[in-house]
């Protein structure tokens, strides 16, 4: 299949091997950019496609699960319910690597409760929210992240303040919270790679413009706004293995964050010096950005150490899904003993 010309990764797979079906989203949709970076990240990380599961809810964003990693199993589930389905899949087989795409409506409106409870359980997964401040697939209603004062054709003016999904994640105890912009391909890609290396739920809230319904210049979810206002906290690079570190930096210029199992995230300092290990600082950062109307992107918070759900449950190495029948069904003697207790 792989022609000699195409670059291959450590598994001998080409980038094309990480593609999915052709997208049916609108030309220019931010979600398609995220899809590209998912493909790139998976290719560059040389993820075995069979170990990844792509999970989604319902929406244009959730449809995009069909457009990447066609060799991976996946579940395009119900509106707002991807967290529950992924939780079950993780428990059944904790050796799988869930990669989820959701929308701001899917996660922030109907799915908010499930999102928070997923984070509480720390189900290890990459959770990408393709946040466009609007319901794309149902043709442009306000979502819970819509700008206050935004105006839409039928719905009129949005009088409600937006939900900040990063702040919600932080308060829920999430250990990997990032925000990015579909127009910032490299950052999106590097964050996805880092998220795959994270030991727990990694949330990436990607502002991903809906070109059809919410891309007017005064929307904070538009390309124009994102391009003009994005303030990356740092220049972020994922380094799969510590040894690969070559470039040297002056002290204070970079911040290296070591992850469970070896990989590292290198944050090269830009204007500010945000310490992603500081939870209160992370909350304050978001609070400040909100008040100031700033669009900050990058790794907002990272802290490993909380057990994953499978760890909390004490599961062994063999996934539950792969246990043989004789392990699952206790022997007749066991039933005889049980019967005796009811006499």
């Amino acid at each position: 299949m792989t022609t000699a010309r195409q670059p291959v990764n450590a598994l001998g797979l080409t980038r094309a091997d990480y593609r999915g079906a052709p997208s049916t989203l609108c030309a220019g949709c931010g979600h398609d950019s995220v899809t590209s970076q998912i493909i790139a990240a998976a290719f560059e990380l040389a993820l075995p496609p069979q170990r990844v599961i792509r999970m989604s809810g319902i929406g244009c964003s959730s449809k995009s699960a069909a457009y990447f990693l066609g060799r991976s199993h996946g579940f395009n589930s119900l509106h707002g319910r991807m967290p529950a389905v992924t939780t079950g899949a993780h428990v059944a087989n904790h050796t799988l690597l869930p990669l989820a795409v959701s929308g701001d409506g899917d996660t922030g409106s109907i799915g908010l409760g499930g999102f928070k409870h997923l984070l509480r359980r720390n189900v290890p997964m990459v959770y990408i929210i393709e946040n466009n401040g609007v319901y794309g697939l149902t043709k442009g209603q306000f979502s819970a992240t819509a700008d206050e004062g935004a105006r839409l054709k039928h719905a009129g003016v949005n009088e409600l303040p937006p939900i900040d999904l990063c702040a919600e994640a932080l308060i829920a105890g999430c250990g990997f919270v990032a925000r990015s912009f579909a127009g910032d391909a490299k950052q999106v890609r590097e964050l996805i790679k880092a998220a795959f290396a994270f030991h727990g739920t990694a949330v990436i809230d990607v502002i991903s413009p809906c070109v059809t319904f919410n891309n007017h210049d005064d929307s904070t979810k538009s390309y124009a706004y994102g391009k003009a206002h994005e303030e990356p906290l740092h220049d972020l690079t994922f380094i799969p293995r510590y040894e690969e570190l070559v470039e040297e930096f002056a002290p204070g210029e970079v911040r290296d964050v070591r992850l469970h199992g070896g990989p590292m995230i290198r944050l090269r300092r830009l204007a500010t010096d945000h310490d992603p290990a500081d939870r209160m600082a992370a909350i304050a950062l978001l609070e400040h950005a909100r008040a100031a109307g700033e669009f900050i992107t990058g790794l907002i918070y990272l802290s490993e150490g909380r057990p994953t759900l499978a760890e909390s449950l004490g599961l062994g190495a063999t996934p539950l899904a792969e246990l043989p029948a004789d392990t699952l069904r206790p022997p007749p003697e066991a039933l005889a003993a049980v019967n005796d207790e009811f006499r």
Binding site: F75, A89, V91, L315, G316, L320, A321, R329
Partner: protein, 591 residues
């Protein structure tokens, strides 16, 4: 002989369960079939609880229409309880309390509760518990429960812990002796005396939720996601209690997982995710939770994901009464979901079947690649029943059509929803299967054979037609009705689930009244050929069920339109299990 019942009325939260269970188990250990029905309030402490113990040499287990022995330990309801006592009955009550019974047509036995409790050695805060042991001892004397059997029951209850056994049994003994001393003639004069039998040899005394939970465990459940709700909670609790013991793997890891979800939507969502990923996944709930599961039920059916949902029914609509029984979720479960959704629903009628369907449900779910509902109810699930011992599964675990990487390699292609065998069931692959052909994107949206999104009318139709072939396969695979044919009968009775006991007993009453009946107990949906056949064989069939609207009758009318006119409905639902007398009278009226 050995045909009567006792109702102990106490205040909930006072520990009377220990007393009542000790009585039941002692009688059971005397070889006499016994069954308990606990009528308890939906609160935690301080409200009246009626516990009825039915002793029946003939093994009748329905709620008795009349209970001749009353233990009136709840002053708030004592007057009404006494009024309900039939003439010739007996009333035991605290003689040193405020309440004084005033009836001359029943035997009155005041018990010196305070005095006995004071002498018991119980700590002050345990006094209520001690008080209950007083009626145990007195009853033992009156109706002839063997003290040794009671002692054994207490040993069982306190799993051998010597001190509580001694303390409690001390009160029982003292109360026994005091009763003998106070009412020396009572035992001999009592119309209700126990006689040792051998009818329970080998049997067990168990509730349906425990049996169901154990059934799931022996069915190899590997994942339970649940949300607490009465009366289903004790089913999940059974898994929590027994799994650590029965299902810890060789290396000390659990071979199961239990997650208490944040709600029922998530509970079923998790089960669906786990079933999709290859676990034997289940959830347990009751009516309100079932309603919340509607959307996921449709997904599981349409995306063809195996999982099991136990619905331990309580009376509804809406929140209804959490601690009252009914068989009212039949239509809801069968049609759960919008669009053209219909499900496989198992209907256990006994605690033994709760166990059996507990394991079988997984085999059916994985064979049929679908969500399987099991409908129990509060009566079956939370009450104690004499039963044959739980029978080890008779068939090996059926994991259904799952293609391994090696099989994929051999086949060279994979079409998720092909139907080569005509049973409507395509082979599936599990996530993690390393073969490059294995992957597929499961979905609740319309799809073609290859599980690819499709809006083509033909694809939709073909998929639905296949799903209905699968439904037809389910008709064959689910537990078939149990039919008892009486050649003399022109009337057939039909029922399901926990109404079985009342119908069986009613048949005996009807036969005695000169009305022989045949009987079909439906054990699953979808209904099969056999049901129409049974109806066709009788002039009239009376469908007996504990709900308001006659839901099984409605389903039978739909299923067998040719004979719909022969179906008569006897549906009754007030929160209590049916009595045989009600069933017999209703059948007499109709037939």
């Amino acid at each position: 002989m050995n045909e009567f019942a006792i109702t102990a009325v106490t205040v909930n939260g006072s520990g009377s369960q220990t007393a009542n269970n000790a009585i039941m188990r002692a009688i059971f250990r005397m070889g006499i079939p016994v069954n308990g029905k606990n009528l308890f309030p939906s609160n935690i402490q301080g409200e009246p609880t009626w516990f009825t113990i039915r002793v029946s040499a003939q093994g009748y287990s329905a709620r008795p229409a009349s209970v001749p022995i009353l233990v009136a330990f709840n002053p708030r309801t004592a007057e009404a309880d006494l009024a309900a006592l039939p003439a010739g009955g007996a009333c035991l009550y605290p003689g040193d309390g405020a309440w004084r019974p005033a009836r001359s047509d029943v035997a009155l036995y005041p018990l010196p509760v305070r005095e006995l409790v004071a002498a018991s050695g119980f700590e002050p805060r345990m006094r209520d518990y001690a008080a209950n042991m007083v009626y145990v001892g007195a009853l033992a004397a009156l109706i002839g429960i063997e003290l040794e059997a009671l002692h054994g029951a207490l040993v069982h209850h306190f799993t051998g812990k010597a001190r509580p056994v001694a303390l409690n049994f001390g009160v029982v003994q003292a109360a026994y002796e005091r009763f003998m001393a106070d009412f020396p003639a009572a035992p001999a004069a009592s119309r209700f005396r126990l006689q040792r039998m051998a009818a329970t040899t080998g049997q067990i005394l168990i509730d349906g939720n425990t049996a169901a939970g154990l059934g799931a465990i022996f069915g190899g459940v590997s994942f339970l996601a649940w949300y607490p709700i009465t009366p289903a909670t004790s089913l999940a609790d059974t898994l929590s209690a027994y799994l650590p013991r029965l299902r810890t793997g060789p290396a000390g890891h659990p071979t199961y997982a239990i997650v208490q979800a944040e709600d029922e939507i998530a509970a079923l969502g998790m089960a669906v995710g786990a079933g999709w990923a290859g676990a034997r996944a289940m959830t347990s709930t009751s009516g309100p939770g079932l309603s919340l599961m509607t959307e996921f039920a449709g997904l599981a059916s349409f995306a063809e994901i195996p999982c099991v949902v136990w619905d331990v029914q309580r009376i509804g609509p809406s929140t209804g009464l959490p601690t009252r029984t009914a068989q009212g979720d039949l239509l809801a479960a069968y049609f759960l979901g919008h669009g053209d959704t219909r499900h496989v629903v198992l209907l256990p009628g006994t605690v033994a079947e709760c166990f059996e369907f507990g394991w079988r449900a997984f085999d059916l779910a994985e064979r049929l690649q679908t969500i399987v509902f099991v409908l129990s109810d509060l009566d079956l699930g939370m009450n104690l029943w004499s039963s044959d011992p739980l029978a080890y599964p008779t068939t090996p675990m059926d994991r259904g059509k799952v293609l391994s990487a090696a099989e994929l390699e051999r086949l060279g292609s994979f079409v998720r929803f092909a139907d080569p065998e005509g049973d409507g069931i395509g082979a599936r692959t599990l996530p993690g299967n390393p073969h490059p052909l294995a992957a597929t994107l499961s979905r609740g949206t319309g799809h073609n054979e290859r599980n690819v999104y499709s809006e083509r009318p033909e694809d939709w139709k073909a998929n639905m037609d296949r799903l209905r072939r699968k439904h037809a396969t389910a008709r064959r695979l689910v537990p078939q009705p149990v039919v008892e044919h009486d050649p003399a009968a022109t009337v057939g009775l039909i029922s399901f689930g926990s109404s079985d006991g009342a119908v069986r007993e009613a048949r005996d009453q009807l036969r005695a009244q000169g009305l022989p009946t045949s009987y079909m107990r439906v054990r699953a949906l979808p209904l099969g050929e056999a049901t129409c056949h049974f109806i066709a064989q009788h002039h009239a069939c009376v469908v007996v069920e504990a709900n308001h609207d006659g839901q099984l009758c409605d389903l039978l009318r739909m299923h067998c339109p040719a004979h719909a006119a022969r179906l008569l409905s006897v549906a009754h639902s007030d929160g209590l299990p049916l009595t045989a007398e009600f069933v017999a009278e209703s059948v007499q009226e109709l037939a």
